[in-house]
């Protein structure tokens, strides 16, 4: 306790706080710009951190990482363009809220969910430090595979309203996700002789194209503004959105804990966590089947709480075992190693102050990040009232820059997926199953291959966590089948008049 207080005292020095503020500022800007992740910024900052001490390095780097998902929902909510991968699922309910003139409420809910998710995540991270090893050791290859099965069956949930088209979109998305090298045989699948396809299709280009371009075209066609109704942003509505988080505290807590837990599993980032949480909330929350996807504030709260608590979760394997939870965490580890800090047992025994600083930084960064965003929400919400003809060229350039990763192929994929997404919206095909399957399928294949190689028999199916996940998958399928059954009844009712 004395050590915690001492570290807290040293944390609140002028220079550490200054670097934290700089980090939060940079993180918020990164979150605002679709497609720009923390990786290139970390790449620039690592050599620079050699001039800082360890605490300042942590304040700067985790200050950035801790809040990118706080400002990530801004473009998702205002324009339907996912700011960060974690904000993809937020588009589905956030943008319809903007269209209804509730952008301020949606943003208020998103910030409060992000704030609470991040802060609760940091506290749980602090409390879980003594049990980290035990928590991490229960996760092996079969558990990863079973979890990816849970992710992929969520396709049946997000296909509601058009089950056949949704499942088809899911199959197509999963096939697109398999482009590139097969993990077992190294067979190159559907690369068409293009080097950039060896690593698979550029996902950012697909997400931004699939969701951004159709909304942009729709906005231009309407010719008005994002908001369909006269819109006067007010702090009252922002406050209303924040209060929504407390009204739905169960879902908020669910998103936070799931985000933290799934974030601790290496390799699960890239938007998967918020999709899984969104899908599960859609499957099991009361009345969600009817309201999700139509501007339900709960559809904003769950993914936003999850993607902010994911950051403390990612710190767990990184610091406890030296297993980075994401490429960004790998770079953070590099920065710490330049200061002589090694993860693992010695970190907890000899540099416990570093661990505590991480917790403090994540906690404080989330507060500063959410407060800064809240301050500008009223102004940002006004963007939904700007006429389409002015917004469209700026957004189109932003989309292109978001998708462009140094290859012309990125732009080809962007515009192809944009056109495909536009046709899907025209012909009433749900886009979420395609995107969800696209992110989950490669992971499922990879972990299945590794599990099959590691275990010669099916003994892994008897592992407790695997059983829990598979039961959850079955429950999700049953929930989907309920819709399937309704659909069959509808079709049969038409074929055989009663």
């Amino acid at each position: 306790m004395a050590e915690a207080a001492s570290v807290l005292y040293s944390f609140f020095t002028t220079t550490t706080l200054l670097w934290l503020f700089i980090g939060v500022g940079v993180g918020l800007i990164i979150g605002l710009l679709p497609g720009l992740g923390t990786i290139p910024v970390y790449g620039i900052l690592i050599p620079f951190t050699l001039h800082l001490n360890v605490l300042e390095t942590i304040a700067l780097m985790l200050g950035i990482k801790g809040v990118t998902d706080t400002s990530g929902p801004i473009t998702s909510v205002l324009f339907g363009i996912p700011g960060q991968s974690g904000a993809q699922a937020t588009v589905l309910d956030g943008y319809p809220m903007s269209q209804k003139g509730e952008a301020d409420r949606a943003l208020g809910a998103a910030y409060m969910a992000s704030l609470l998710g991040g802060c609760i995540g940091a506290v749980v991270l602090a409390l879980s430090i003594p049990f980290l090893r035990a928590i991490m050791m229960i996760f092996g290859l079969p558990e990863f595979f079973a979890l990816s099965v849970v992710g992929i069956v969520l396709v049946s949930i997000v296909s509601s309203g058009s089950m056949v088209k949704g499942l088809m979109a899911g199959c197509a998305g999963a096939l697109l996700g398999l482009v590139g090298q097969n993990p077992q045989t190294a067979t190159i699948r559907w690369d068409f002789g293009q080097l950039f396809l060896l690593d698979g299709l550029p996902r950012v280009a697909i997400f931004v194209g699939m969701f951004g371009i159709p909304e942009l075209i729709d906005l231009f066609v309407k010719g008005t503004s994002v908001s369909d109704v006269p819109f006067f942003p007010s702090f009252k509505k922002i406050y209303e959105g924040a209060r929504d988080c407390f009204r739905n505290w169960g879902l908020l807590f669910f998103g936070t804990i799931m985000g933290l837990f799934l974030g601790a599993i290496p390799g699960l980032g890239g938007g998967r966590i918020s999709w899984i949480c969104y899908g599960l909330a859609r499957a099991f929350a009361k009345g969600a089947a009817e309201t999700f996807g139509k501007g339900d504030v709960r559809g904003v709260i769950v993914p936003e709480a999850a993607n902010n608590s994911e950051e403390p979760g990612m710190v767990i394997p990184t610091m406890a075992f030296g297993i980075p939870g994401s490429p960004t965490m790998a770079m953070f580890l590099v920065a710490l190693s330049l200061h002589g800090i090694q993860p693992g047992r010695t970190l907890f025994l000899e540099h416990f102050d570093v661990v505590l600083t991480i917790v403090y930084v994540l906690f404080v960064a989330n507060i500063i990040g959410a407060a800064t965003c809240l301050l500008f929400t009223k102004q940002l919400s006004k963007l939904t009232s700007v006429k389409a003809d002015v917004l469209v060229p700026m957004l189109l350039v932003l989309i292109v820059l978001a998708a462009y990763q140094s290859d012309v192929g990125d732009l080809v994929v962007l515009f192809s997926s944009g056109f495909m997404g536009w046709l899907m919206t025209r012909f009433r095909w749900p886009r979420a199953p395609l995107v969800l399957a696209l992110v989950m399928a490669p992971m499922m294949e990879q972990y299945y291959v590794l599990t099959a190689l590691r275990y010669e028999t099916l003994e892994w199916l008897a592992r407790p966590i695997v059983i829990v996940f598979l039961v959850l998958a079955i429950l999700i399928i049953l929930s989907g089948i309920k819709q399937l059954r309704e659909w069959i009844e509808k079709v049969c009712g038409r074929l055989v008049p009663r």
Binding site: P40, I44, G80, L92, Y95, P96, V158, S159, S160, G161, S162, K165, G166, M168, C171, A172, A174, L175, N182, Q184, T185, T187, R189, P214, E215, L216, I217, D218, V221, K222, G223, F292, G293, K294, D389, V390, V392, P393, M394, L396, V397, V400, Y404, S406, L411, F415, L423, M424, R426, F427, R428, P430, A432, A441, M444, E445, Y448, K490, V491, R494
Partner: protein, 164 residues
């Protein structure tokens, strides 16, 4: 009728996609083609079913099977009005011109020019407003993406051909 036909054609596109996935993966080792087949075969079956349903809808005026609300952002109904169709054509022309210009001149030059021309000729904004937005794009691309992040820009085909 046109819309229904287009919708059926779109479903047919998925059918060809799944058939193509199956066909092109047939010579791969089993481990590499297992999951693609596991996905493409049901995909093919579902798209055949959907296509059948679409054709039924097309010719027999049967009730469409999926009239329920899909879980996605709803699009504006303005798109089907004559003005909407005209504006749809217009935006596709702008996007097409943007793509071709990027290919010819490169991203760095075209992006601010696109914003400038769009605001001048489509949005009918005042020239100084268009210039302001264009300059903001230049500042962001050159000042941040180019100078800070060192983003490697696409060279335009035209410049490459001319030896620049």
């Amino acid at each position: 009728m046109k819309f229904k036909l287009a919708s059926s054609l779109y479903t047919a596109l998925f059918l060809f996609f799944f058939a193509g996935a199956l066909w092109t993966s047939k010579d791969w080792p089993w481990a590499a083609r297992a999951l693609p087949w596991f996905l493409a075969i049901p995909g093919l079956a579902l798209s055949s079913w959907q296509l059948g349903s679409d054709f039924l809808w097309l010719f027999k005026k049967a009730h469409k099977e999926d009239e329920g609300t899909i879980m996605d952002i709803s699009v504006s109904s303005d798109a089907f009005t004559p003005v909407g169709l005209q504006r749809t054509r217009k935006i596709f022309c702008w996007i097409g011109a943007f793509i071709i210009s990027i290919w010819l001149l490169g991203l760095l030059i075209v992006s601010p020019l696109f914003v400038l021309f769009f605001l001048l000729f489509e949005a009918r904004e005042k020239w100084w407003v268009a210039m302001l937005y264009g300059t903001a794009v230049v500042a962001f691309m050159v000042g941040f993406l180019d100078q800070v992040l060192h983003v490697p820009w696409l060279p335009g085909v035209l410049f490459t051909a001319l030896g620049f």
